[in-house]
């Protein structure tokens, strides 16, 4: 804490990702507001698209990473896989919330409604509930190892269920015809819009990677602290051992975060 230590690889990774994310996102935001043309039909409201689409992408990417972490945990029982899953779940919840909010903000002027029961929207809303369930099983399991197992179950079944939910809502909707509102953008958008979108996608994905690395470090420190606290409680010499271990941990956390 007091003296500077030589930067190691994961520190450089964090710094590098952070700097890159800031640069690309600044460029992306600039492009979204200045470079990209104003949409003929939707006007400036369309510009939220450059934030909304990356949020949606990250929400589903994060669920994919939760799935990978959960399968990995089931397979190997490694604490690292569990940290991967739970870190990604927290970010996924954040991005799912944001995609729902940005979508509603766009929907209000364009659809004249905050919400439509359309397949993508409905699926994202259910995904949001699955993330909540994911945190609740962990919180209510009463013990960290059991929580990790239960969360892995939900992570696997939830990720497999999401495309099924999407398809079933789609079929439900085709049997109940409704005006198609969402396909206004279509695949053929001008190049300048596409480039802006790609830059924003890259920027936000870098932001996700940056937050993931940070979050994994925090979760690692949390695991180590919990373990040390346990050993300190069990150790007969009590206070002194505890102080020593906590000092070691904070020392390590400030410097490194390897498994």
């Amino acid at each position: 804490m007091m003296q500077r230590k030589p930067a190691n690889r994961s520190d450089m990774l964090v710094t590098g990702l952070g700097v890159l994310a800031v640069v690309v996102l600044t460029l992306g935001i600039f492009m979204a507001f200045v470079y990209a043309p104003t949409d003929r039909d939707q006007g400036d409201a369309q510009r939220i698209f450059y934030v909304h689409v990356p949020m949606a992408w990250l929400a589903y990417l994060a669920m994919g990473v939760v799935f990978i972490g959960s399968v990995g945990y089931m397979w190997k029982r490694s604490a690292r896989m569990d940290r991967l899953a739970r870190s990604s779940a927290e970010l996924g919840f954040l991005f799912t919330t944001l995609v729902l909010i940005t979508g509603s903000i766009w929907g209000r002027p364009i659809w004249n409604a905050w919400w439509q029961w359309e397949a993508r929207l409905t699926t994202t809303l259910i995904l949001w509930f699955i993330f909540i369930g994911y945190f609740m099983v962990r919180a209510y399991a009463g013990d960290a190892e059991r929580g990790a197992r239960y969360a892995a179950v939900l992570g696997i079944i939830g990720a497999i269920d999401v495309p099924i939910i999407h398809q079933s809502v789609k079929w439900w909707r085709t049997l109940h015809p409704e005006p198609i509102v969402l396909d206004t953008a279509g695949p053929n958008l001008p190049d300048s819009m596409l480039v802006t979108l790609l830059v924003c996608l890259a920027g936000f994905t870098l932001l996700y990677a940056f937050l993931m690395v940070l979050k994994m470090q925090i979760e690692w420190a949390r695991d180590v602290l919990a373990e040390r606290e346990l050993t300190a409680l069990l150790a007969p010499e009590g206070n002194q051992a505890e102080r020593r271990t906590v000092a070691t941990v904070s020392h390590k956390v400030s410097g490194a975060a390897e498994d």
Binding site: V153, D161, V169
Partner: protein, 219 residues
């Protein structure tokens, strides 16, 4: 397979002797169906869709009531350890619990459907409705048995159960309600695609729950 049936027989026997939750499930389904009458006007007009929706809400709620208890009672009585000490793997325990849960839900449906028919005069006794009821029960029981085990050893289990089960069971809710509505509205020929879909959902959910049950039970 004989071991699975032994477990099913055990569950049925316990329920038969103790009469713990089957009665409550049936009464709950009936009271939900009656309450429907005050939530929607089912006496005239476009009543097929709300009728089918309400019927499945009743099954879903009543089923959850029983499913939630199915592993919780084992834990509370301390018989879960006994089950796990049996020389069978977790998959067998899952199948035993799953089959007895399907049976409980089907019994609830067997009582509710005639009552529903009598009260609302919707064709809820047609063979296609009975078939869809059983197909739906299989999917719900599959997911429900898995999450019953998750909820059983958690705090706030009564709340946790629906929070986990409802979002994941949405494809089943959509499928069963749509199929039932179509059968209520016409001859039901256009409901067949939903049957295939639901059968596919059942296979996916039951297989997944079977595979993941091991991860839940291991202590």
């Amino acid at each position: 397979m004989r071991r699975v049936w032994a477990l099913v027989w055990k569950d049925l026997l316990v329920e038969f002797r103790g009469r713990e939750f089957l009665g409550a499930m049936v009464v709950f389904a009936l009271i939900t169906i009656v309450t429907l009458n005050f939530a929607f006007d089912l006496s005239r007009g476009d009543r097929e869709a709300p009728g089918a929706g309400g019927l499945w809400i009743a099954f879903l709620f009543a089923g959850m009531l029983g499913l939630g208890r199915s592993l919780a009672v084992e834990r509370d009585r301390g018989t879960l350890e006994g089950l796990m000490l049996c020389p069978v793997d977790a998959g067998t325990i899952f199948l035993g619990k799953f089959i007895s849960n399907v049976m409980f839900i089907v019994i609830v449906q067997a009582v509710s459907l005639p009552v529903f028919y009598g009260l609302y005069n919707l064709p809820s006794l047609r063979p296609m409705v009975l078939l869809i009821a059983v197909i739906g029960a299989i999917g719900f029981a599959g997911l429900g048995t898995l999450f019953s085990a998750v909820a059983a050893s958690s705090r706030a289990r009564e709340i946790l159960m629906p929070l986990l089960l409802f979002p994941l069971a949405i494809p089943l809710v959509i499928g069963t309600v749509q199929a039932t509505t179509l059968i209520f509205q016409g001859d039901g020929a256009d409901a067949w695609p939903w049957f295939n879909l639901l059968a596919a959902f059942d296979v996916i959910f039951v297989t997944l729950s079977y595979v993941l049950f091991d991860l839940v039970l291991e202590e």
